[in-house]
């Protein structure tokens, strides 16, 4: 190997290190949450919404062939939602349109992520993992409403 090749190895290493630094920097400065793991418990298989206080709630989502339970999640704007996700049958996907939330629902495991919802609107949840012949019909919804309107 001559000096050019050694330079190439160093340069590509440097380039990748800068990518890595950018990743870390963003993860910490913008508090980008990545899926975290918690021990599995069959109690997570029942979907429901639990409002903790004015600005936080826990949403337990259970994916099944071919829908989500709850199918429609209504929350007031400004809520920070903690999602707990599992599946009662096969592997499913959980991708909230426009929110960069991208999780797998795996039977026997529980996925968790925290997401703030600060603008009013309807967010669609697409299942993006093949889960049988009805896969393309599987969709959920998050409706974020105005606080005043809701009262």
């Amino acid at each position: 190997m001559n000096k050019y090749e050694i330079k190439v190895v160093l340069l590509s290493g440097l380039l990748l290190s800068s990518f890595l630094f950018a990743l870390l920097y963003n993860a910490f400065s913008r508090k980008i949450d990545t899926p975290a793991c918690i021990p599995y418990n069959a109690a997570f298989e029942k979907g429901h919404v639990r409002q903790l206080d004015d600005s936080t709630c826990e949403v337990y989502v259970s994916a099944h062939m071919w829908g989500f339970d709850p199918a429609e999640i209504v929350i007031p704007v400004g809520t920070t939602v903690e999602f707990y996700l599992t599946s009662t049958d096969v592997v499913h996907g959980f991708n909230i349109d426009g929110k960069g939330v991208n999780l797998m629902a795996v039977p026997g495991g529980v996925n968790r992520i925290t997401v703030p919802f600060n603008s009013i609107g309807t967010y669609r949840i697409v299942c993006h993992e093949f889960c049988g012949i009805g896969h393309q019909n599987m969709m959920g919804k998050i409706i974020v409403k105005d606080k005043i309107y809701q009262q």
């Binding site: 062939m65 096969v90 349109d97 991208n102 993006h128 093949f130 049988g132 393309q136 019909n137 969709m139």
Partner: protein, 557 residues
């Protein structure tokens, strides 16, 4: 080198059979783009439903065609460089197992009893024949490797002091890595899934099967890629009219693949529960590391091509690019290589996005991912497979290549098609378009409540790309099958274009001995997968689930 009839027939059959199945793989690929673009709103066409077609497309193109080629190309490189044939029983037994395994897979996929895609994620159940067939295909490839190891030791005894030829090193690195990484999947299919599918067991730990799958699933992509790299290092400089810039750099690149290919599988599972953020971040770093040998390859191959261009009288900084042998019939291989390399620039860069832990959140399981890997596996990997298969078939069978003009334009047309297809899929993926989904039924069907107008334009671009790729494949098939069914006109030989090194380099002992690299590889695998395995058992539980794709009722009561 002349060749015995049994060996010749094995090599030719190992090219002909998967190429025939590839027709089915291509057909189902094109069909998917049509379904997804919303041109048809149907579950099935001509008796093959969307997901069955997707399973056929993935298994045939990504496992069958690639594994057969890796084995056949291994036979040819090992025999060409060592001037020996492997023991007869090894290549016959290997081919027999691979063919039987493939037929079992093809039968169950066509019969509709195995439609859980090429990742066969439990608890979707495939036929036990599918799992066993896949295992036989893999075990067959191990036996071929065993035969090469035997002739390598013979060669080393007879040629003491000589360096292991670069192409042989590449092949051995590839199959060593393949052997280590297929052990977990062999365990998954034979010990966990086959008894479960037969009904002998009812419980399955889903996160465990997924982890074992991806321990194999990512090294698999390097198993596809390394034959292409071997061709880039040892054949391309010659056909471009130049020399290999540095043999030692090439050796180092291969050995880096040996240590870094296997412990990176968890990066397919960034969106999953069960693994800790620490494991995920560590795997991100390793995956960035495995990009380094690819950067090195880009440099070494680029420098070799520049040398070739300058030898032809090129001037200026970029003049050498114009002087390369583009569109030359007598040098058709060059087109396959260079088009693959051009696609791989974008394939590699988009791969770094996927590897990036938090960026992956934007693209995981969206159509961005198939957009990315069509520029790798349908880029350099497939183009090298197509070009070199035609070359090997012609030399080993002793037949003249027919429709050479068609064979010459195929890679350029194919590259254009892949560019369109991948652009469509990646753009759609950034807008959340899901992969592996019959979108024509809902998301791109204006009559459905789920209709999403943003995905129509992107999936239509994808479809046009699919048509262009289909046209290129058709031209290739005409040339390949006309060549294969033609009359013998020459003496059958094992022959490869052989690149020379640009300058004589001092041998580096560390680059000539695979053993320390294998040890480092094993350590890295343990260091990554022991914590991952502990997490699996700590955070997950086995479930009593077993499902068939068309029925949402659990088969276990």
């Amino acid at each position: 080198m002349t060749i015995s009839p049994a060996y010749r027939k094995t090599i030719l059959f190992g090219l002909f059979m998967p190429m025939t199945l590839f027709i089915l793989g291509v057909y189902n690929g094109i069909m998917q783009t049509i379904y997804r673009a919303g041109v048809i709103h149907r579950t099935s066409v001509a008796g093959i439903n969307y997901y069955q077609g997707l399973t056929l497309h993935g298994v045939i193109n990504a496992i069958v065609l690639t594994t057969f080629f890796a084995v056949v190309f291994g036979h040819v490189t090992v025999s060409f460089y060592l001037k020996k044939e492997p023991p007869k029983w090894t290549y016959l037994m290997s081919m027999l197992l691979m063919v039987v395994g493939t037929l079992m897979d093809a039968f169950t996929m066509l019969a509709g009893t195995s439609e859980a895609l090429y990742t066969f994620y439990a608890p979707l159940q495939d036929s036990p024949l599918f799992y066993i067939g896949t295992a036989l295909l893999i075990i067959g490839s191990w036996i071929a490797f065993g035969g090469w190891v035997k002739v390598w030791f013979e060669w080393r005894r007879e040629n003491s002091g000589k360096k292991m030829p670069l192409a042989v090193l590449g092949t051995f690195v590839n199959f060593t890595m393949w052997f280590m990484s297929t052990l977990p999947v062999a365990y998954e299919v034979l010990v966990i899934l086959t008894p479960w599918s037969l009904g002998w067991t009812n419980q399955v730990n889903v996160p465990l099967t997924r982890m074992l799958f991806w321990m194999f699933g990512h090294p698999l992509v390097y198993f596809w890629l390394l034959p292409a790299y071997i061709a880039y290092y040892t054949i391309l400089p010659k056909v471009a009219g130049g020399k290999l810039y540095s043999g030692n750099a090439a050796r180092l690149a291969f050995l880096l693949f040996l240590i870094l290919s296997t412990p990176v599988g968890v990066h397919h599972q960034f969106s999953e529960p069960v693994f800790t953020p620490g494991t995920k971040f560590w795997v991100s770093i390793l995956t960035f590391g495995v990009a380094i040998p690819s950067f090195m390859t880009a440099f070494t191959v680029g420098a070799s091509l520049e040398y070739a261009g300058r030898k032809r009288g090129a001037k200026g900084l970029f003049g050498w690019m114009a002087r390369l042998p583009w569109f030359q019939q007598e040098n058709f291989l060059f087109g396959y290589f260079i088009c693959g390399l051009i696609l791989f620039i974008f394939g590699g860069l988009s791969g770094i996005v996927n590897a990036s832990y938090s960026l992956n959140q934007m693209v995981h399981n969206t159509s961005w991912v198939p957009g990315h890997f069509h520029m790798t596996v349908a880029g350099p990997v497939l183009l090298v497979i197509l070009g070199v298969s035609l070359y090997i078939y012609s030399t080993v069978a002793g037949k003249t290549i027919k429709f050479r003009t068609l064979a010459t334009i195929v890679p350029y047309l194919w590259m254009f098609g892949v560019a369109l297809l991948s652009h469509g899929m990646m753009a759609g993926g950034l807008m959340g378009e899901p992969r592996r989904t019959n979108m024509g039924m809902t998301y791109t069907n204006p009559d459905s409540d789920l209709f999403n107008k943003h995905w129509v334009a992107t999936s239509t671009t994808t479809m046009i790309g699919g048509f262009v790729m289909g046209a290129a494949a058709l031209l290739y098939f005409i040339s390949f099958f006309a060549t294969a069914t033609g009359k013998r006109t020459m003496e059958p030989v094992i022959e490869l274009p052989e690149s020379e090194d640009l300058h004589e380099e001092k041998p580096v002992p560390l680059l000539l001995n695979m053993r320390p690299w294998i040890i480092v590889s094993a350590i890295l695998i343990l260091f990554t997968y022991i914590p991952a395995l502990i997490s699996v058992f700590k955070y997950s539980a086995p479930v009593r689930n077993k499902f068939q794709v068309e029925n949402p009722n659990n088969m276990i009561k």
